[in-house]
Symmetry: C2
Subunit: 394 residues, 2 copies
């Protein structure tokens, strides 16, 4: 029997609500992965990704698999057995980077910060001084597990100043907050489609600087993954009309990515960042009105992913279940150390809008009241109103 999914509103850590234009693009007729029209699509996607990443890097393309594979593509191409990588960890995904370094035969030197804190630049600097021969610094720009933004520009500069490569995870960052690959001098960057691009999950955009590309080209040993070997992928995604077959591209998923990037370009990068911030301000006002608090300090908080403390005595899973069942609204649970302690409320891409903010505050209010949490009914939504009124006037 065919599967008909319910229509949810996706305000978790991703996937986020998909723009209907993107769903329709996905259903367009499949063409061959060597069709001249498909080659044109590939060229347009590369140019649109360069726009989104703010880069002129020629090696900018979508990996044919989810963000975890984008991460792996960066590590297995740049790291060889014996290499040392300084890995900043302040959430789940730094830990995954460590796994990637070690499985590539490298040694990971960990710089740990508390979950919910930004990466401490002084600690990183000390680790660099203690490991001057490290090949790369790997870090998460926008931690999906905590909602923290770290200072990517400063970290990339530390890497450059010490002649190390920078490997940046901005799966949740891209299109939601500033990402400036060339301005920051980031060397290897990966993202995902299912966060602030509002596209379906399954593809990972990546970009490599000239410096990173030359490291890949001049490796001593072959890349351990055939599927993710950028030397081979370049032959298919490279310049010119003659593309060497590598693997069958996920044609329809790339239609969707193209449409998502087209929508981003129509709106404009800066406008997209501003929209994410405006809706975050309204959500934050509403949450405060419900008596809830955010985990992350304002200075390093991601507008697109809000880690909200679960009040004492509240059954957090029951709240999520009620939202899903009564309002078809998905919010996220805490991951790892934060499991049971926070909800993660996403306002990503197409889902970052006023309707969703109001839906979420209304639904949370009634779920909290059902668990006898003391709060002023109506206060949350009144503060949402005020926030939008103030930003409309701005």
């Amino acid at each position: 029997m065919s599967f008909y999914p319910p229509k949810r509103t996706l305000m978790g850590p991703g996937p986020s609500d998909v723009n209907p234009r993107i769903s329709l693009a996905l259903a367009r007729p499949t063409i061959g992965h060597l069709d001249p029209e498909f080659i044109r699509l590939m060229d347009e996607i590369k140019a649109l990704l360069q726009y989104a990443f703010k880069t002129k890097n020629l090696l900018t393309l979508p990996i044919s698999a989810p963000g975890s594979a984008g991460m792996e593509a960066c590590f297995v191409n740049l790291i060889e057995a014996g290499d040392t990588v300084i890995v900043c960890q302040n959430g789940v995904f730094g830990g995954r980077m460590k796994e990637n370094v070690e499985r590539a035969g490298g040694t990971a030197v960990m710089v740990n910060d508390a979950w919910g804190q930004a990466i401490d630049l002084d600690k990183l600097d000390a680790a660099i001084k203690a490991n001057p021969d490290a090949k790369a610094i790997a870090f998460v720009h926008a931690e999906t597990s905590t909602g923290v933004r770290s200072d990517a520009q400063a970290i990339c500069k530390l890497a450059q100043d010490n002649d190390m490569l920078s490997i940046m995870d901005t799966v949740t960052g891209l299109a939601g907050i500033e990402v400036d690959v060339d301005g920051w001098g980031a060397d290897a960057v990966y993202s995902g489609t299912q966060k602030c691009l509002s596209c379906v999950p399954g593809i990972s955009p990546v970009t490599f600087s000239e410096r990173a590309q030359s490291v890949i080209t001049n490796r001593q040993l072959p890349v351990q993954s055939w599927f993710l070997d950028m030397n081979l992928i370049m032959g298919y995604w490279g310049e010119g009309r003659q593309r060497a077959y590598h693997h069958t591209a996920p044609v329809n998923a790339l239609y969707a990515l193209h449409e998502a990037l087209t929508i981003l370009r129509e709106e404009g990068l800066e406008q997209s960042w501003a929209r994410h911030l405006r809706n975050h301000e309204a959500l934050k006002a509403g949450l405060t009105g419900l008596g809830l608090s955010l985990l992350v300090d304002e200075a390093c908080r991601l507008p697109q992913l809000n880690a909200v403390g679960v009040p004492k005595g509240v059954d957090e899973a029951a709240v999520r279940q009620r939202l899903l069942q009564q309002s078809n609204l998905e919010i996220g649970a805490g991951l790892g150390e934060l499991a049971g302690k926070v909800w993660r409320i996403g306002l990503m891409g197409y889902a970052s809008n006023e309707t969703n903010v109001r839906l979420c505050i209304h639904a949370l209010e009634s779920a909290l009241l059902a668990q006898n949490v003391p709060l002023n009914p109506g206060e949350g939504i009144a503060r949402v109103d005020a926030a939008y009124a103030s930003s409309d006037g701005a």
Copy 2:
């Protein structure tokens, strides 16, 4: 600007024409990868894949990336540094297996057969005797580069009799010809969505026997790929309601796979194989009527992929270009050793139908006439008529 692909008829080596039911499934609303409804979808997909593969293997699931990643998943999970693998090569994809073995730190002992020939069992047997400690035998059941079917049952039996694992590529085989994973005792098998399942490209169904699963669970070293580590993937796709987050599943692509497998189940496996054979017979008759010949002997020819010799003096690329431009019809070029020497005409899944056979014969006839190839106009299509009349009467 949005991208609107042309409507092609896809009769190359894949992707094949996508059933419109599958395109529509793809566009259904995205839900979260931990949504209870999504867990239900995953369970249904596993059961449908078990049907398609003819297996009771619990470890049967779709890898979130194309067939090349399915291949890599089999090798990196089963092979460790120092292992020897006997690799049968009779086309492009055996060569890719060699790459996979070597990048996993193993040694590949090659058993080479001519492109267009089935794997020679005597040569394989000799290689087994010469390498009694080999861990696995890897082979391609249905070679997409040549259109050859090898005797998978006999090869799997040789592996079992010699206490080796069998690793089988049936990317092009599944749903087009018999695949009987349990009946043959195959240990690790991967396929693709974009061939005889008529689904969009991007996902790779895999299945592992209990024996293979226990090899994976008892490895000495971690799997070199984090993304493809079956020990971790099992935690997400495993039994029970509690699924450990591994990576964000390609939700919409899995809607499509579910629909493709539902369609296969509605038609029935045996009926699907019979339909592929019937349309192949008609295509073969038509090609013969045009004076063209097939590369592969009838005894080991794949009905779903026909390697057709390019007549002397014909510009094969011009023929393909004309088909594409005049009829929106895609057929494939030769790969590797066969580049320039053959066309590859696919009749896969939804594309395996009478309309497509007729379209292809008509279009080829006019393309060959345009290049002054001597042939009897109308003879090709007359033979197609006769073939269908004869199979209708059968």
